[in-house]
Each structure stands twice: as structure tokens, then as C-alpha cells.
Symmetry: C2
Subunit: 366 residues, 2 copies
């Protein structure tokens, strides 16, 4: 076998941003270097903006702290959470790329059962670039994987699938449990490597975790709003859940797909269950109403874009969830502000302005 004359270019190198919310030095990137170095990073610094976040040499990145967010968004910055990883969605807003991969800074490279290091990003890209099959369940999982196909009885008219909007990856070691489960099972670790990717069927909601997540920003970006969490809010740790419920309802409406399963990352450290319980307890209570609400939402057929769907959803949140707690009225307003901000930064004319905004803290390697 002869070597190829030029190395194969990393897939989607110029079409994908990696978004990382953080409050600390990004030493975790060292482990990801072989996989992430060719890509551009958008780092969203949470908490004290005067703190200096160190990024390992050689990475191409831009970094935004709270001062940057306030400067770029002005009054609309109120929709971006503070002191909560929900701030990551600011990175989705300022990206100009077609695809986003977002990962937490306590997530490391996992190994598959053969001991090989898993290139999580490559698997996400594969998931996003192949269709989803939300209309009928395929018992051999993703029919577009090598060695698999649609099984007997799968309607041929549905085999083209639909475009994939979201790829939801999983976690080995520390599972993504809520505080009560953490408290009850402090020693449980996820050691089961399930070698599957599957489409979450149309009409089915799922708990979307933001730790290891990729999506097609052009198809679904405006729905990837992580809500109001953390500082000044009555709730935390429901940012990704909120985005997941909204996203699933909208992908279902627009005929797009959501996949879950591979790739795994290695989740290194359990967060403090007592702190989590304080953040979560209202969410645990409220979700008993929120989920039936999202299960019953139907969007009118006039909603043909993600923005239109999201604005419609904000009205329904105001109307149906508003009576539960004033928080949901504030959240419904923030959903509208988010779409305003999205449209401002992502209209065809606004591209240079947004780029200006980044200058203060951007740093380039190459």
C-alpha cells in the first residue's frame, strides 16, 4: 500500500465551529489536539470576565467573555445566561459556520471496546451528513452505517430519509444523571459501550444533553437556545433540556431528523449532587407540566422556518406555561429576544458587523 501524496483534509474543516463554554484554563484540549486542532474554536468564558483563560498553543480560536457578550448584543444580552453553561448558545449565535459541535471542558477522549481512541467529532460529522429516519423505526439501527441497511418491512418510500439536524452523543464513565439519581447511586458508572446510532422517532421527546452535541446550524440553529439559567434565575441544569424539547418539536414539524447514540466521550467528573439538587429542584417539579406541554404542541403549517416556529413556540410558552410561574413569562420574552439577536447577527448584511464585534478578544494561530 502506498501512502497518499497529500494527507486527507479533516472533514468540514472550514464549515464547522467547536463551541466550548468554560470558567477555567482549557488544558482538556491537549487530549483532543489530534482531533480538534484543524478546526476553529469559539470559547465562551463564563463568570468573572477579568479572569484570564489559558488556551493551549496551536489552537485557532476566538474567545468571548461577559463584557464581549454585553458589547455585541447590547440590551439583547439579557437573553444569554450568566454563571451557567447555558451561555454556550452565544457561541452558536456568533458562529458563521454551517455546523456546530459543542463539548464541555470536563469531557475527554473515550476509548472503544478495542481500546482505540474515539474521534467524537468525526462520528458526529458522519451522523450529520447521513439522513435520519424518524417516520418508521429500523430495528438494525442506523440503516446508513456500513454493514447495515433497512430491514424487511421497511417502506421503500421512506428509505430516502430526511436531513439530519442534530447528533446527540453519549458519555462513558459518569452518566448524565439528575441530582436525586446521583444521590441514590453515587458510584454508578456507565461502562456499557452501545455500538449504535439511531433516529429518535417523530413525535417522541428526549432529554438532550449539551455535553457532547453537534448540529446543523443552518437547519436548526435558531432553536438551539439554552434558555435563562444560573445567576438571577430560579433554575439551572435545564438549559440543554429546554433546547432539546424546543428543537425536537421543531425538527418534527419541519421534517428534520435527530440522532442519538455514538459517539461517546469520557465524562471525567461528577458534579456536586447537593449543588445540583438546589439548581434542579424547581425543574424536576416543573418538567411534569412542561413535558406534557411539549408533547401536545402542534405548530401551524404557516411556520415554515425555524424562526417562525420558535416565535410561535414562545407564544405558546407564555400562554400555557406562564401561569405556572412568572419565570416562564420571562423565558418566553427571552426566546423572542434570542430570535431578534439571531436575526441581527445572521442576516446577510450583518456578517461584517458581527466580525467586528469579535475583534477584541479573538486570537488567531494560522
Amino acid at each position: 500500500m502506498s501512502k497518499p501524496a497529500t494527507p486527507v483534509a479533516p472533514p468540514l474543516k472550514d464549515e464547522l465551529d467547536i463551541v466550548i463554554p468554560t470558567i477555567r484554563n482549557l488544558d482538556f484540549l491537549e487530549m483532543w489536539r489530534p482531533f480538534f486542532e484543524p478546526y476553529h474554536l469559539i470559547i465562551v468564558q463564563d463568570g468573572d470576565p477579568s479572569k484570564i483563560i489559558k488556551v493551549p498553543e496551536g489552537f485557532d480560536y476566538e474567545l468571548y467573555n461577559r463584557n464581549d457578550i454585553n458589547r455585541i448584543l447590547g440590551p439583547k444580552a439579557s437573553c444569554i445566561s450568566f454563571k451557567d453553561s447555558a451561555c454556550r448558545c452565544f457561541g452558536f449565535l456568533v458562529s458563521k459556520k454551517k455546523y456546530i459541535f459543542t463539548i464541555d471542558d470536563d469531557c475527554f477522549v473515550a476509548k472503544d471496546p478495542s481500546g482505540k481512541e474515539i474521534n467524537a467529532l468525526a462520528q458526529h460529522i458522519q451522523n450529520l451528513l447521513s439522513p435520519s429516519t424518524p417516520l418508521f423505526f429500523n430495528t438494525l439501527y442506523d440503516p446508513f452505517r456500513e454493514g447495515a441497511d433497512f430491514v424487511r418491512g421497511y417502506p421503500f418510500s421512506m428509505r430516502e430519509g430526511v436531513p439530519t439536524a442534530v447528533s446527540h452523543g453519549l458519555w462513558l464513565n459518569i452518566p448524565d444523571y439528575d441530582a436525586p439519581t446521583q444521590l441514590v447511586k453515587p458510584r454508578e458508572r456507565n461502562t456499557r459501550y452501545v455500538d449504535a446510532v439511531l433516529t429518535i422517532p417523530k413525535g417522541t421527546l428526549f432529554p438532550m444533553c449539551g455535553m457532547n452535541l453537534a448540529f446543523n446550524r443552518e437547519l436548526i440553529g435558531p432553536a438551539m437556545y439554552f434558555g435563562l439559567m444560573g445567576d438571577g434565575q430560579p433554575i439551572g441544569r435545564y438549559d440543554d433540556m429546554w433546547a432539546g424539547w424546543c428543537t425536537k418539536v421543531i425538527t418534527d414539524h419541519l421534517g428534520l431528523g435527530v440522532k442519538t447514540g455514538l459517539p461517546y466521550i469520557w465524562h471525567s467528573k461528577a458534579s456536586n449532587p447537593f449543588v445540583n439538587l438546589k439548581k434542579e429542584y424547581k425543574g424536576i417539579y416543573w418538567q411534569e407540566d412542561i413535558i406534557p406541554f411539549f408533547q401536545s404542541v402542534t405548530l401551524p403549517k404557516e411556520c415554515t422556518t425555524v424562526q417562525k416556529c420558535y416565535i410561535e413556540l414562545s407564544k405558546l410558552v407564555m400562554e400555557k406555561l406562564g401561569p405556572i410561574d412568572p419565570y416562564f413569562q420571562k423565558l418566553a420574552d427571552a426566546m423572542v429576544t434570542w430570535i431578534d439577536a439571531w436575526d441581527e447577527l445572521n442576516s446577510p448584511q450583518s456578517a461584517p458587523a458581527a466580525a467586528d464585534g469579535k475583534d477584541g478578544s479573538s486570537s488567531k494561530k494560522k
Copy 2:
């Protein structure tokens, strides 16, 4: 570690029948001996009733050929297919047990990635005895497996789950493909062991394969009718699909669960794709209408038993699918006949009569 004084009894030994449709000697049972020998077998002999089917020594079984079926059911025998593995549902009818496991005679014991032989029956029993979660998707798959649980964001009110009616197992080696896919990919083998069991969400249909299937007969038995296939019918190889569509619509309506995934069996031999194409081609065409039909079915809330649901479904089949082809009118009638036969053989008084019917061909080991 000391040995237990008495061996542990096989689970559900007196509550489960293994149903096997066949046209040949059952040598394949040798490989299953360690797992199946404690259980009772119901063998449904298809084709020429004068042929002698040899069953390996030591198995406890009863065997029915076409003459037995005609004698036991009289005119109602018309609902049981001939020269097609759809005849297996006769075994479901005459069983008096709570659980059924049905398997094809070209299915052997598979090995897990560690090389250990898989006790498929034990895994099915585990699937059936633990709840399903059809109302919300759990990203770490079956939350009732050891080492797994519900993830963050899973509503607590839904964690009790619902009773499991069906456990659908998969196949290593020869995948369950339709004739066109067999023709296009003659050498494709399923080598991917996916270590997962998952609930098929409410509202989602799936292609149920009868090769490696278990169910709770008390919960869903009357819906496990495998239709009219084979001799004298315009279609074959859609028997299990038909049962799967009907079953899923009814389990969804009644608040029951369907699981798929583990256990794997080793499917030894691909059937002839040219023969299969002849059997399937009408089904391939018709399923484009059948599946939207089943996706749109809603059963009235008065349908509180499987029988009531099934009779209602037969009416809808007559009304909505009847116009496609006279075959569906015949099938709708057969669905009613099946329920009549079920009720006749399974009413509290009828138990002795049914046992009478078995005598001619029943053989007991112990």
C-alpha cells in the same frame, strides 16, 4: 464461594411455551438444549401432514400438523395459513401459558463479543419482566438494566414505566432483509453486536420479525395473528409484519410496551431471494398504503381489551384497505375468525376441550 445446595430453577419454567413452526426434523434443538430443555415446546408442523418430524430425545413437546389444526378448529381453521411460517400463530392459540417465545428452526445460538453463548430465552424473559418506557426516550437505553438508569431530564412521573407486552430480538449473521435488498447485497452479514434493549416509543411503528420473538400472551396474545399467507394467498413473508403493525397499534392504545434489541440469535441461512421476491412483491407495493393506514389508526376508548381492539381494527381494515384489493377483505374476515377461535379455545370453560384436541400428537418426556 460455595455452590448452592440446589440448582436455581429456570425462570418461568411452567409459565412459558416455546412455539416452533417447521417442515423438517428439529436437529437445531440440539444446540439449544441447555437453554430450552426445561421448557415445554409447541411444534406446528407445516406442509405435508404425513411427514414425520423428528424431535431430539429429551424435549417435552406437543406437535400439531394440518390435520390436527383442521380437527381442532373445524371451519375456523381457514384463518390459519398453510405452507407459510404464519402457521406459528396456531401455537399461540392452543398454548395455555402466560408467555410465548417463538423461534425459527434455522436460528442457532449466537455468541456475545466475549465469546459466551447467548441464552436468548433468558434475555427475552428479562425484557418481558421489566417495564417499558414508551412515553419518553431514555438516551441510555433500557433504564431497568443493571448499570443504567433514567438520565437527567426524564420526568419522574414516567419512571414507573408500563407493562412490557413484546420483546423483539435481533439476528447476527444473516440480517432480515427483503428480497430486493438481498439481491442487491447478497454478501452482507450482520456482525455488529449492539449491547442494548430499548422501548419503541408510543406512536412509532416498527417491522416486527417473527424469527426471534417473545410476548406476554395474557397481555397481547389475541393480537399476535400472523394473517393469511402462503398457499392460496397472493402474498407471503408479511405475516410477522402484519402482526407487528396490529400489535403496536394495540399496545400503544392499551398503554403497553414493546422492546427491541437484545437478545441476538445466529441466523444461519439466507432464504432464496428470487423465491422471496415472488412472495413479497405485492406486499412491497401494498405496504406503501398499509403503513400510512396503521400510522393513522386511532382506536375508540371503548376498546378496553385486546379482542375489542382487534375486532375494531378488522373493521377498519375492511373499510380502508378493502378497496385496495379483495385480499384485504378476506384478511379482515380472517381477523374476526381468529378472535372467535381465540375466545373458543381460551375461555375459562374451554380449557379441557382444547387439551383433548392435543392428545393425538402430543408427546411428553417427563
